[in-house]
């Protein structure tokens, strides 16, 4: 198999000019740097299908590896290891082990859809990134990311009341992730506000946190959504061959 990606070359497979032993023969100083051959035996042939079965993963098979997504990607500009095209490539080939090397950063996609804008094949890479992050969590490869914890807290508030209240979302999120609400930059922001805010407005904000606003006539929508979410979760787990509730 040809070498498509430099990052597939692991440092331990590089043999240097000065200490070069090939198949027991010492050719140090004679040959250039050498990459040891590697056979891949750990293909997961179901990987593309599994990810395609999760919401957002549907179009992954359409990718033709043009690289426009990675080229346009916001997170890639901050961290070159963040490479949607490459991950789609690995998923389509079933190279699970390789994908798992990047498992802790895939969730960092910021949903800016620059990739979707640039993609000539309508893959919707943004949604594929979400499906992949979801797959990693469902399979137990990664713990729930901070982003998922936030999404779940947010969604459960919407489903419960029909609305969100930012103070409450913030408080629940910091609690769920074990972070303190007194981080210096947050304190600086809030004290800056208090200096200028009319007291009544602050009181209103505070009251909203305790008695969040609700959408009237919401209870039937809540019941309908809850039922649907449970069904979808069961279907997703089934597609990945996981049992109904417990682990894998």
């Amino acid at each position: 198999m040809p070498i498509h990606e430099k990052s597939l070359i692991r440092p331990e497979n590089l043999v240097e000019h000065e200490h070069l032993v090939i198949e027991g023969v010492d050719v140090s100083g004679h040959w250039s740097t050498f990459i040891e051959g590697r056979s891949i035996t750990d293909y997961n042939e179901a990987m593309q299908e599994e990810i395609a079965a999760l919401p957002g993963g549907e179009n992954i098979h359409r990718c033709w590896q043009c690289g426009s997504c990675t080229n346009a990607c916001t997170v890639n500009a901050v961290n070159p290891e963040f490479n949607p095209r490459y991950w789609i490539y690995l998923i389509r080939l079933g190279m699970e082990e390789e994908l798992l090397r990047d498992k802790d950063i895939i969730w960092q996609c910021v949903s800016c859809n620059k990739c979707t804008y640039a993609c000539p094949r309508d893959v919707v890479p943004e949604a594929v990134m979400k499906a992949t992050a979801h797959w990693l969590e469902l399979k137990g490869h990664t713990p729930k990311s901070n982003s998922t914890i936030f999404d779940e807290g947010f969604a459960s508030q919407v489903i419960k009341t029909g609305k969100i209240e930012d103070g409450l979302v913030l408080r629940d999120y910091f609690k769920a992730t074990g972070q303190s609400l007194t981080q210096p930059w947050l304190v600086a922001m809030v004290t800056g506000l208090i200096k200028r805010f009319p007291v009544t407005y602050l009181m209103k904000l505070g009251i909203a946190t305790v008695f969040p606003d609700k959408t009237r006539k919401w209870s039937k929508s809540r019941a309908a959504i809850t039922e649907y979410v449970e069904e979808c979760e069961a279907a997703n787990r089934k597609a990945l061959g996981l049992d109904a509730k417990g682990t894998h």
């Binding site: 919401p55 957002g56 916001t74 997170v75 901050v78 996609c109 910021v110 949903s111 800016c112 859809n113 620059k114 979707t116 804008y117 949604a127 979400k130 901070n146 982003s147 914890i149 936030f150 999404d151 779940e152 947010f154 969604a155 919407v158 489903i159 029909g162 609305k163 969100i164 209240e165 930012d166 103070g167 913030l170 999120y173 910091f174 992730t177 210096p184 930059w185 600086a188 922001m189 800056g192 506000l193 200028r196 805010f197 009319p198 407005y201 909203a208 606003d213 959408t215 009237r216 006539k217 919401w218 039937k220 929508s221 019941a223 309908a224 959504i225 039922e227 649907y228 979410v229 979808c232």
Partner: protein, 309 residues
Amino acid sequence: MADTKKYKKVAYYPGCALEGSGHAYNRSTKAVGKELGLELVELDNWNCCGAMEVKNIDPKIQTYLSARNLSITEEMGFDTVMAPCNGCYHNLKKAEYDLGHDAKSVEVNHRLSEKAGHGEYKAGKIETIHALDWIKEAVGEEEIARRVKNSLKGLKVANYYGCMYTRPRHIFPEKDKGPGTESTSKPHFMDDILAAAGAQNVDFPLKTACCGGAHTLSDSDTSTKLVLNILTAAEACGADVVATECPTCHTGLEMHQIRAEKVLGRKTNVKILYFTQLLGMALGLSSSKVGVQENFSDSKAFLKSKGLG
């Protein structure tokens, strides 16, 4: 002269952010509407659109959330709903697109609407517009220029539109249709409006860059870097002010401007204001009428120095 302009009276979907951290945007949008003789009728019993979060739990629920708001718009007898928040606007547009193109979305919406006991929204009945479309169409540059009492002359503005106003392109079929329409690669509606109010727009390359809003709390370091990049670029272009048209973008810029200073020691001085705040002050409204005191960042002294507010 008969007034033939559209959008003089529309349904108004403020969204949750405008009731909380983005209250200044709510206040200034309403104040500007009133000043310009436009009527906003808030949707009854609206629900949150799910922002960028609920879709990650399940995208079809996100579609339903917006479909419910669209069905309320219809019930109230309107054919247009205006959303000032990019997130809300985007989600309404996306629901419109999905309900017009994806059978599964239609099926889930049908099922949930029926169970919830309200009308089922069908694609094509309601037009969703952004606050920018609203001002630009219902009033227009000429009339704005005529009504300006306190020109933004001398104010250098970088117009920041964020991601959700233009991407992905397919949910905005009315954009990129040539002269007069909005562009998804180089949006200009906010530029046009503020130029009419006298501002000097700078050539800003990061109009549609992402601020990392989706992970503003869960991956703050990335967001801080992205925001710092936007703010330093705006300063490098000579801007005094970054004008915003979305509560999430706006609060993201404000929060991470502070965070960049506290965490990375990088201070930026550019001010962050909603375009409705700038427009309102140009129309002669006071800074408190447009909620400048409700912003996280303090721009009062700056505005005074420019003779505004």
